[in-house]
């Protein structure tokens, strides 16, 4: 069966700045695909092109076989978009917002009212339907924001960092709703810079950095790239000797790799606990003051670290 989304050598430039640099990937039907990357990696720009908001500079995107360049209106009927911003009208009620956006998708009459009621139930806000959005908490607004994208039962849902800035309870509710939508057969493209979300939700993950798709695959395929190594992260007080420290640490038995990024020394080793003491000793010997220490087992964060030398949050 043909994929629901096919991205072919997609390039997006703003003047001389290349925000997306020729990325290609696909999403199979019924799949949750996450684009994982730090802020500024190009995830939102990618979704903006995929959802027909921006024209690509080069390349093409096919949604259910239809080009976003040549058939944008057909594409728009097949996709749902949950933008990063809370794109709602504060002075309209939850129901009025859903009715308006449903009308924009061509829903009307009894069908519209029934669908709005269903969505209000799904997002758990049926009892607050007549209250204005401006009286809602951040988490409730996020849920309405998601509800708008579901009104017309799209085959493919784009969710751009839908959990930014909300409480853990609302975040849990959103992650559960994404899994439920997927169980109902909806394909999802989910962008995030939270490694845990990508790990929990995704069938496959694409890792983006500086506009490039630097890795793609299932989680096990990706973590295999960093082997079975743990990552030991030393955050140090600003100093000029970090590279000397990295070179010295590289000589410690059991250390697979030692790299630096700004004020962080990253050490890869099969058992990070075993090398912690000698690494600290070396730091003391070189008069490098350690600010904090953390150990990461192999995960997507470690993959990103391995591929870029930086932590996702940098």
């Amino acid at each position: 069966m043909a994929p629901i989304l096919e991205v072919r050598q997609l390039v997006k430039k703003y003047g001389d700045f290349e925000a997306v640099k020729g990325i290609s990937f696909h999403i199979d039907r019924g799949e949750i695909f996450s684009l994982l990357g730090p802020n500024g990696a190009g995830k939102t720009t990618t979704i903006s092109v995929l959802s027909t908001l921006f024209q690509p500079t080069a390349g093409d995107v096919l949604v259910d076989g239809h080009s976003v360049v040549r058939e944008p209106m057909v594409v728009r009927n097949r996709i749902g978009v949950v933008p990063q911003e809370l794109a709602l009208y504060d002075d309209l009620t939850a129901r009025e917002n859903l009715v308006f956006w449903g009308q924009m998708y061509g829903l009307s009459g009894k069908n519209l009212n029934e669908r709005v009621s269903q969505v209000l139930e799904e997002i758990g806000l049926a009892d607050r339907a007549k209250e204005r959005i401006k009286t809602f908490s951040g988490g409730m607004k996020r849920r309405v924001n998601i509800g708008v994208g579901l009104l017309h039962r799209p085959a493919l849902l784009f969710m751009d960092e839908p959990t930014v800035g909300i409480d853990p309870q609302s975040r849990r509710a959103i992650l559960d709703s994404v899994k439920e939508l997927n169980r109902q057969g909806m394909s999802v493209l989910y962008t995030t810079h939270y490694m845990e979300e990508a790990q929990e939700l995704s069938d496959r993950v694409g890792i983006m950095d500086h506009g490039e798709l630097i890795a793609i695959g299932t989680q096990s395929e990706l973590t295999r790239q960093v082997g079975e190594n743990d990552a030991l992260l030393l955050e140090v007080v600003e100093c000029d000797d970090l590279n000397r420290l990295a070179a010295a640490v590289q000589q410690i038995p059991g250390v697979a790799q030692a790299t630096t990024s700004e004020n962080t020394l990253t050490v890869l080793a099969p058992e990070a606990e075993d090398i912690l003491a000698p690494v600290i000793t070396q730091a003391n010997a070189l008069n490098v003051k350690v600010h904090s220490v953390s150990i990461q087992e192999p995960n997507l964060e470690a993959v990103f670290l391995h591929l870029t030398g930086r932590a996702l949050r940098d």
């Binding site: 908001l53 024209q55 990063q84 794109a87 009208y89 002075d91 309209l92 924009m104 998708y105 061509g106």
Partner: protein, 411 residues
Amino acid sequence: MKKILLIAWKDLRLAFRDRAALVLMLAAPFLLTLGLGLVTGRFSSTSNSGLSSIPLILINQDGGELGNALVDVFQSSDLDTLVDPVVQIDATAARAAVDEDQTAAVVIIPAGFTNSIFSATSTPVVPVEVYSNPARPTSSGVVQAIVEGFLSQVELGRINGTVTISQLLEGGYIQPADAASLGREIGQEPAGVNAPVTLSGRTDENTAPPFDVLAYMAPGMALMFLMFTVTNGGRTILQERVSGTLPRLLVDPVRLSQALAGKALGIYLTGVAQMLILIGGTALLFGIRWGHTNAVLVLVLAAVFGALGWGLLLTALARTQSQVANIGSAMMLVFGILGGSFVDIRSFPAWMQTAARITPNAWALDGFLALGLGGGMADVLPSILALIIMGLALFAITVFVFLRRGAFGHR
């Protein structure tokens, strides 16, 4: 088209749920009109014109029957609450009083005025001079109107007298020597028996209603705050871009042209609703006669269209919401002053009167004044056409600017 209407309806609802905007759209013009009405005495029990005790100086150099009759008119009990006349002799001093804004006008009845009217020969009539104070255009306009009313009665009497005496002479009923004294008798009748000007406030369909100062102030204020509505509406376009609702609209099955047309229609409907509420409210509460209903409605539609053009152009040229808000506020005030919302533009220098024509306020005020004074659709047609042309021209420039700048980051 359905989506355009749905977007417009949504914006209309949002506009009337924005309490801060409602204050400026409705409360502010209403209260300012009320305040100006109080200041001008419009709500006093003895005046229905909003004007009273207009100071003026009478210089009667004529001393004849008609000159005295005109002085009597100004001193009559009919006008004693409206005008406060002072009879003087020195015309130069009286003019100086006007120049120093001590009085609204000087009425100078020159020597020979009565004789020029009653002359059996066709000698030119000696004109009565009204020396007006440009700083008090409304008051001096009232004085001018009283004098013109008197003169029209005199002229009517003169024509009647001339015709009557000619026929009597031709028929041999009177001798030429008696013609002058008879003419004088006939000529006195209109001025002496029928008061040339009354301000009873009672009119019939064939006479213009009395001038109401609020019929000038209310549309002036409504039009000034209409500029707030259209610029604030334009600001919401940029607000929707920033808040993400406009981009969300553009990933729905909605074309950019539909989204913008819907937004523009929403602003337009908001402006029309604002004007109609203000017109209805001031008519009910202040008793303002806005005039011919259909003509008022068409004029409102045209005025909002012209104003919308300015609001959209400002939105197209501005880069941020605060730019639209700040420039919009300035535009509202400048257009209000220049367009005559506070002072009749006819008291402005010629260049300012010309400049005022770029504002929808000036054209629309012309129309509302004409309707308030009893005019009909034909009287406001020039204003309506000018406002429609203004709106179309500004809309064309706006589209050009939007296209050049790449509207709303939809790239």
